[in-house]
Subunit: 142 residues, 4 copies
């Protein structure tokens, strides 16, 4: 019997680079974003708000990152999954912090869930592009 | 590299006059309102409840002002923006304090977001008229 | 009458460098910290948790940064200020987010309160040293 | 048998003048305050934050006004009342919004509790002086 198992978690160094990549992508797109990154435990690991980025997104970006880390799928996958099940569509959306629109993506390393990233400030599609830019940094550093 | 950037924020003096203008407009319309004003950081700067104005609107007016300051658009613009995107319609409305009906308007000075005003007590249209009366005071004092 | 007044707020670029400086100081001291930075409105601007830094400090660091920005004095100044006034010692400590131990310092630029930094993970003294390292970055970039 | 009783409640007009009086007193004292006024139901009736007044006091001033209206005594009377009763000193202070230090005063008209005022930003004594300036406006308008 094994008393433990090993986990992977994103590191401080890569988080700094991920947030930088997301913000530079946002500049390219002409938007101002908040970006949040949680670790494998769903706890905030890094956060950055661009100058004049919307305050409302301070919370939304963190909830997206949490949702991604806490369920292991992109936040954009939630709506298609629940739309034909009214008990979920009207019910599960009340779960604290659960976010069902795009911009949150899990951080997966070697098949293991190592954290989540959430971006808010543009459209869901723009937010997701910024998040993907950040995830590319992870891929380049494995 | 610049360590800071400059912001504008509404002043106490104008806030007093804004709330007065909103309440007088409400009298004209025959309604009783709550009016809340937040600064550029979304923090409450001023608040006034007319005699016999609905208690429920104490919170609603503050949430409208916060939403306007925190996202930089009128609260009346939210529903048209999200109505055809079900993941937002069922999802983003759960964001704490987010208000998606009229009566909240950002305070913009020289192109910069300097605060928000929220009015509650009448219909969304009446509330917005009161908020606009208050914003006229800002324009007359630049 | 003036409808607005001007404020200064810390920029995204300097926030990235401030968090980096705080974390490197923590390494020197042999501790693992969470560092949070709020803007002049008390809203989260940046956050970083070092690998294996205590989870409890995720919230504490943010509350320290908020307290510093929201009252304009270092969090270490609170206890000496209230210790001989029992109504504050037993009363004001219940204020939401108020933190009365060291590690939170206001960010003051040209005499104006432009934000707050909060560090948590070591002793109050160690946390304050990390915060001061971050503030030195601000001074070097004015 | 009488199916109802009459209550008194502060009016919008006097609230505007009360907040103005409190802020001007604060200027005299060289402090920057938040002032909150609740009606006889403990609900927010008016609020004003002077430019650059501490954000932390946004909540404290409202809690002082609520406490004053909700128990009918000045907040400065709470500590002397509970200090020798440890179950209250350690227990009742956890009551949501209860504030046990000076700066909150009930508004009493013709022997009836008609609301509360709370001031925060200076010392408890300075805050109370500002609140009393506001209450003088009530007396002059009976």
């Amino acid at each position: 019997m094994k008393a433990f198992y090993k986990k992977l978690s994103i590191s401080e160094k890569i988080v700094t680079k991920m947030m930088e990549a997301a913000c530079r992508k946002a500049e390219e797109l002409g938007i101002k974003i908040n970006v949040a990154i949680t670790d494998d435990g769903g706890n905030l690991k890094g956060f950055m708000r661009m100058d004049d980025a919307p305050l409302l997104s301070v919370e939304i970006s963190q909830n997206k990152a949490y949702t991604a880390a806490a369920f292991g799928i992109a936040t954009s996958e939630w709506y298609p999954m629940i739309k034909d099940e009214p008990e979920l569509l009207y019910g599960i959306v009340h779960t604290d912090r659960l976010t069902i629109f795009g911009g949150g993506i899990p951080i997966v390393i070697d098949g293991q869930l190592a954290g989540g990233i959430g971006v808010s400030g543009g459209t869901a599609e723009q937010d997701a592009l910024c998040a993907e830019s950040a995830l590319n940094v992870v891929k380049q550093n494995l």
